[in-house]
């Protein structure tokens, strides 16, 4: 995680920009069209004031109106308007397509990537962080990049076009505009710069407050139990007051941008009116009232793109920062593909052997070393040990969520690295302590591993897992849609569904991670019977808490501090009078 932070800073490098451009390659043609339409619409927008001015020049005063000329110009205005409107619409639609399409492509790529990223990456990155990279970073990136770019492009075109036209119309007035414009830019930049730190402070304070809210509201019951409401409120009020103060500053100072630049704009307007009017009086006829009207319109719209461009630049910077966060996710190393000579394990015979296995999550902290174990077909292996001794590590290795650092694990006599991951996992049935269910129907959840299961098969599995009776009582039975996280089921019911999910596929080997720990004891008795049946003839690894499971295991692995310190069956381990014996007697110390 630390690494991420340092990397995040380096978000603006050329590499990111190049990478972005590369990603956009497929959109070359629509992008070209979009730019073309943008150009047309800017050109027309700039041309209409010229036509208007020309028309005004044809109506100098009473009896001096060139009606035919005006008529022709009006037709021209009509055509330009139509062209402008059409190209504006096409441009927007095209930009939408490009943007949304790009978003979809990026998310799809990222999601596909997620499926192939090793668990070591996912385990070390917070879920929320990865989700925000895929969702809000992608949105901000494309918004900033594409919509920002479109705005940037039209802005620049408008500015250049206006400049050229003004110089062409009258260099003197153009000079007035050109000289005063930097003032507007300067003001805007100054405000942006001084508000940046205020926004940072606001964001920081807001985050602080959110964390506090999160804590107090998520744990509301506890706060009530300890009567800690007043302290919480005091803490909240303090942050809230600070937030109010810095929000006010951030919001007010940033909101001065518009009035300030409008002010400069108005000054330019007055300047143009003055110089323009004097030039009209010059009497050479080179400058007319129509010309003045054109200039006033331009002066009015000339500075607007400058404001837009300054916000766009900030957005682009943000977009690049988001892009680099996204790319970091996309660059996470993927799992090495299955070995070219990997075999497909059809039906495991149930033998598992570990030979001199070494493993650690980080090189500095060696975890498992020199672990050897031979499991015969249908044997039960109980893994026991105190809290946090790393029992789940073994599951990670057996399922090949992680690869061993040394030694080898073989299933059916074949090194699991020489078996396709898919066929290896097909032979394992896994029930984890952490009950994960989809936000979908109960049916979809049970049939997760076998989508084409018949109703009979599904119900049989649910019955075997003792889940049928409570499912029937759900509002829509098997078609009840569960919420995210499996709500409204109780922890125990969720576990039963997880068991039913495995019951349906019933692979030849099982991994049960404290599977029954949060199911109530009476239900557990029934489930243990069902499990016993299921385990019959199936090689099973059980992270065990219950004595009955432990005692009936063929091999007990006693783990401590990530290492397997004792290994044997119940009787022999007790006879050793070591750590296991200690654990065992502690359990009954009362």
């Amino acid at each position: 995680m630390k690494q991420n932070k340092t990397k995040k800073k380096a978000g603006f490098d050329r590499k990111t920009v190049l990478r972005v451009l590369q990603n956009l390659k497929g959109y070359r043609i629509p992008l070209a069209f979009s730019l073309f339409f943008a150009t047309v619409s800017v050109a027309m927008t700039l041309y209409i004031p010229i036509l208007t001015g020309d028309a005004i020049d044809l109506m100098i005063g009473q009896g001096r109106v060139d009606a035919d000329g005006v008529g022709k110009i009006l037709i021209l205005i009509g055509i330009c308007t139509a062209l402008c409107a059409l190209s504006q619409w096409l441009m927007t639609v095209l930009n939408n397509r490009i943007t949304y399409g790009f978003v979809r492509k990026l998310r799809r790529d990222a999601f596909a990537r997620l499926q192939r990223i090793p668990l070591s990456y996912l385990d070390s990155h917070a879920v929320g962080d990865t989700v925000s990279r895929m969702m809000s970073d992608v949105d901000q990136f494309t918004d900033g990049l594409l919509l920002g770019f479109a705005q940037f492009f039209t802005g620049i075109l408008t500015i250049l076009g206006t400049l050229v036209i003004m110089l062409f119309l009258n260099p003197w007035i153009a000079l007035v505009v050109i000289v005063t414009t930097p003032l507007s830019l300067f003001v805007a930049a100054l405000i942006a710069k001084s508000t940046h730190s205020m926004f940072l402070l606001q964001a920081k304070t807001r985050a602080e407050q959110t964390a506090l809210i999160d804590e107090y509201i998520a744990n509301h019951k506890l706060v009530a139990a300890f009567g800690h409401e007043d302290e919480g409120q005091a803490e909240f009020d303090e942050v809230n007051a600070r937030l109010e103060k810095c929000s006010l500053r951030a919001i007010f100072y940033s909101s001065t941008t518009n009035p300030s630049t409008r002010f400069v704009n108005n000054l330019v307007y007055a300047g143009v009116a003055l110089v323009g009017a004097f030039l009209c009086l010059g009497g050479t006829g080179s400058f007319t009232v129509g010309g003045l009207s054109k200039f006033l319109t331009y002066a009015n719209q000339y500075t607007k793109p400058f404001n837009e461009i300054s916000t766009v630049i900030a957005e682009l910077q943000n977009a690049l920062a988001c892009a680099s966060r996204l790319f970091e996710l996309m660059d996470a190393p993927v799992l090495p593909p299955d070995a070219p000579d990997a075999t497909v394990l059809e039906e495991a015979n149930g033998t598992v052997s570990l030979e001199d296995v070494a493993f650690s999550y980080t090189p500095e902290r060696p975890l498992i070393e020199g672990l050897s174990l031979t499991v015969k077909e249908g044997q039960r292996i109980a893994i026991v040990g105190p809290t946090g001794c790393g029992k789940t590590t073994l599951i990670n290795l057996l399922m090949r969520f992680y690869d061993v650092n040394g030694g080898s694990i073989s299933v059916s006599g074949t090194d699991i690295r020489k078996i396709t991951r898919s066929s290896l996992r097909k032979n394992w049935g896994m029930v984890l302590q952490d009950t994960w269910l989809m936000a979908d129907t109960v049916r979809a959840n049970i049939c997760f591993g076998k989508p084409d299961a018949t109703d009979e098969e599904m119900i049989a599995a649910a019955k075997a897992a003792h889940a049928h009776s409570f499912i029937k009582r759900l509002p829509n039975g098997y078609d009840t849609v569960l919420g995210e996280g499996g709500s409204p089921l109780s922890q125990g019911q969720k576990q039963l569904l997880c068991i039913a999910r495995v019951m349906l596929t019933l692979p030849p080997m099982l991994i049960l991670d404290e599977a029954t720990s949060s199911i109530d004891t009476r239900m557990e008795l029934k489930i243990q019977r069902a499990f016993a049946e299921m385990m019959q003839g199936r090689t099973s690894f059980i992270v065990a808490h219950r004595l009955s499971t432990i005692e009936s295991a063929d091999v007990i692995l006693v783990m401590r501090d990530g290492k397997i310190i004792e290994q044997g069956d119940h009787t022999s381990l007790l006879a050793q009078n070591g750590f296991y014996a200690q654990l065992y007697s502690a359990q009954f110390a009362g």
Partner: protein, 588 residues
């Protein structure tokens, strides 16, 4: 929820603007002034053309330009003042709204927070309130300004040349129709866009949390397909809405330019007959242009306000949830027999339904617990163990019957006084950001270091706390993320022990502890000097078998009361539980 409902909840929230009434009135007022000056500019320009240029009056032109600069200065001042007041009002509004929300949520009862859900409450307090804040800010600044400019332009056009001003009367309603039609069509669609995006997000989150199961079941490809179909749906609706919104600019442009053409055409006619000057025509075209700019601004404001209305109704819903426990209206629950007076806790026919029409979570619980006793509560998941102990500190109220603490109905206590008597270790070991010390002090703000260390020792937590850098002052990150589950659990126990309460409730609080630690903990609980009444909720018979009294629950009913040995003899449920854990029960 209908539009009216949205509107009415916003109205109710406007109470929070009241303290900022002055600012909320002054801000639009100054915006109004600014708008007036904006509207006068084209008139001045017209004067420059028609009087200054026509007469060759240089001093006049100079003075008119001076006026323009004056307008600019006044406009800037007005605008800055308006922005400040708007920001002040909006920020003040949101701060006091947040404050009230926070304190209100703190007062909600368990039943209510359960119903609303904590994550919703958090979003409502953060992003919803932020949206409301910017809506207030925008509204104060723009809601008045835009219509004034539009109507003002209309009025000014009539002043300049009434007979050609009719086009404004035609164009303005047409523009409004276009703008509002597009908004009305696209706003509900944007809600669907958001809904689709939520689906995409939830699939992503689900895949990250369930990655092991997905890989174990080899569902990677199916998940990619599921994600793609959700993301395609999102893409389609986004494009659809986008195409509709994309009509806004071109259509308004066409309308305004049609207005321009009409103005120029009629201008040509009227100038020819001497009824209109060149300056008049320029002024009219300027007003037409102003209308376009303002309408677009107005449309964005409406967008923000509309989004905020939905937020307002969500926030208002929280505020309208009645706070706290209902005030008691019962008189008769006073103790009427001796048993209750001697008891620390007495349940009298206590029945609890979490919501109407559901099976009772507890039914007819009738038992009295003597002071200083250690009570084990056992039963299967969903049998009502936690519900039972939750009644004691009045986290929930009984539906019928009564719960008495020290002989008095819990509903007659001041809630804070009641909870003074009770110390709880929750099922989920929750710690707060801060230090070990700051967390322990929750139990008793005045506890000395010695007391804290003693509590840690009792909770079997002293060793690991002292081994941490900083000891008592070592840092605890949010949710105690830098501690293991077992460490967190022991700290929550220590926290409860720091509070010297008469009643100590441990709600399945040793599940993350290994047997040795659990046993040591139970041994130390028995040595507590003030000998509180202890409730031990557990699923393991080993944890409770030495309790003075064991309550056996099944499906919300009390099916056994007694000691371990008597229950083994008389209570089938208890025996079954025991045997499931001890295989035959002979092992002791």
């Amino acid at each position: 929820m209908g539009k009216e409902a949205y509107g009415s909840s916003m109205k109710k929230l406007l109470v929070y603007l009241k303290p900022y009434r002055t600012q909320a009135i002054l801000s639009p007022l100054f915006k109004f002034l600014e708008a007036i000056f904006d509207l006068l500019v084209p008139i001045v320009v017209k004067q420059i053309i028609d009087v200054g240029i026509a007469n060759g009056d240089k001093p006049y032109i100079l003075s008119m330009c001076g006026i323009l600069i004056g307008f600019a200065v006044v406009g800037l001042t007005c605008s800055l003042v308006a922005q400040y007041f708007a920001a002040r009002a909006a920020v003040g509004f949101s701060a006091s709204l947040r404050r009230d929300l926070f304190s209100h949520i703190q007062k909600l009862s368990y039943a209510q927070t359960d119903r609303i859900g904590t994550s919703t409450l958090i979003t409502r307090m953060t992003s919803d309130v932020n949206q409301l804040q910017s809506a207030v800010n925008f509204t104060l600044r723009l809601f008045l300004r835009s219509p004034i400019i539009v109507l003002g332009a209309l009025v000014m056009a009539f002043c300049v040349h009434p007979r050609s001003a009719w086009i404004f009367v035609v164009i303005i309603p047409l523009l409004s129709v276009v703008v509002f039609a597009i908004m009305l069509r696209s706003i509900p669609l944007y809600r669907r866009v958001q809904g689709n995006l939520d689906t995409v997000t939830s699939i992503t989150r689900e895949n990250l949390t369930g990655v092991r199961v997905i890989r174990a079941f080899r569902k990677e490809e199916d998940e990619i397909a599921r994600f793609e179909s959700a993301s395609d749906a999102h893409f389609r609706i986004q494009n659809f809405v986008g195409s509709i919104s994309a009509l806004m600019n071109p259509l308004t442009l066409i309308l305004v330019n049609v207005g321009l053409i009409v103005i120029l055409a009629s201008g040509a006619k009227f100038v020819q007959i001497g009824d209109m000057t060149q300056g008049d025509v320029v002024a009219m075209t300027n007003y037409m242009a102003q209308i376009l700019v303002e309408l677009v601004k107005f449309a964005t404001t409406i967008f923000t306000v509309n989004k905020a209305l939905a937020c307002a109704s969500r926030v208002q819903a929280v505020l309208e949830t009645p706070a706290g426990m209902p005030v008691s209206d019962l008189q008769s629950a006073q103790s009427d027999d001796g048993s209750a007076e001697n008891g620390a806790v007495t349940f009298r026919h206590a029945t609890l339904h979490y919501s109407e029409g559901t099976d009772p979570a507890l039914s007819e619980i009738d038992v009295s617990i003597p002071k200083g006793a250690t009570v084990g509560v056992i039963g299967s998941t969903g049998s009502g163990k936690t519900s039972l102990v939750n009644l004691i500190p009045r986290f929930y109220d009984v539906t019928s019957g009564a719960v008495l603490v020290n002989g008095t109905d819990v509903r007659e206590y001041d809630i804070n006084e009641l909870r003074e008597h009770i110390s709880i270790v929750p099922q989920k070991p929750v710690l707060f950001r801060g230090t070990v010390r700051s967390n322990l002090l929750w139990g008793n703000p005045n506890a000395t270091d010695e007391e804290l260390l003693h509590a840690l020792e009792l909770a079997q937590a002293k060793d690991f706390v002292l081994a941490r850098e900083g000891g008592l002052d070592s840092e605890i990150t949010q949710n105690g993320g830098n501690l293991s589950g077992g460490q967190r659990q022991r700290l929550t126990i220590a926290r409860a022990l720091v509070k010297d309460a008469d009643i100590l409730i441990l709600d399945d609080s040793s599940s993350a502890l290994d047997y040795a630690t659990d046993a040591a903990l139970r041994a130390s609980l028995r040595t507590l000097p003030h000998s509180p009444t202890v409730f031990l909720v557990s699923q393991r018979t080993s944890s409770i078998q030495h309790a003075d009294l064991i309550l056996v629950l099944e499906d919300g009913a009390l099916v056994g009361i007694g000691s371990h040995n008597s229950l083994l003899e008389n209570c089938d449920v208890y025996r079954e539980i025991y045997q499931s854990q001890f295989q035959g029960g002979e092992r002791r």
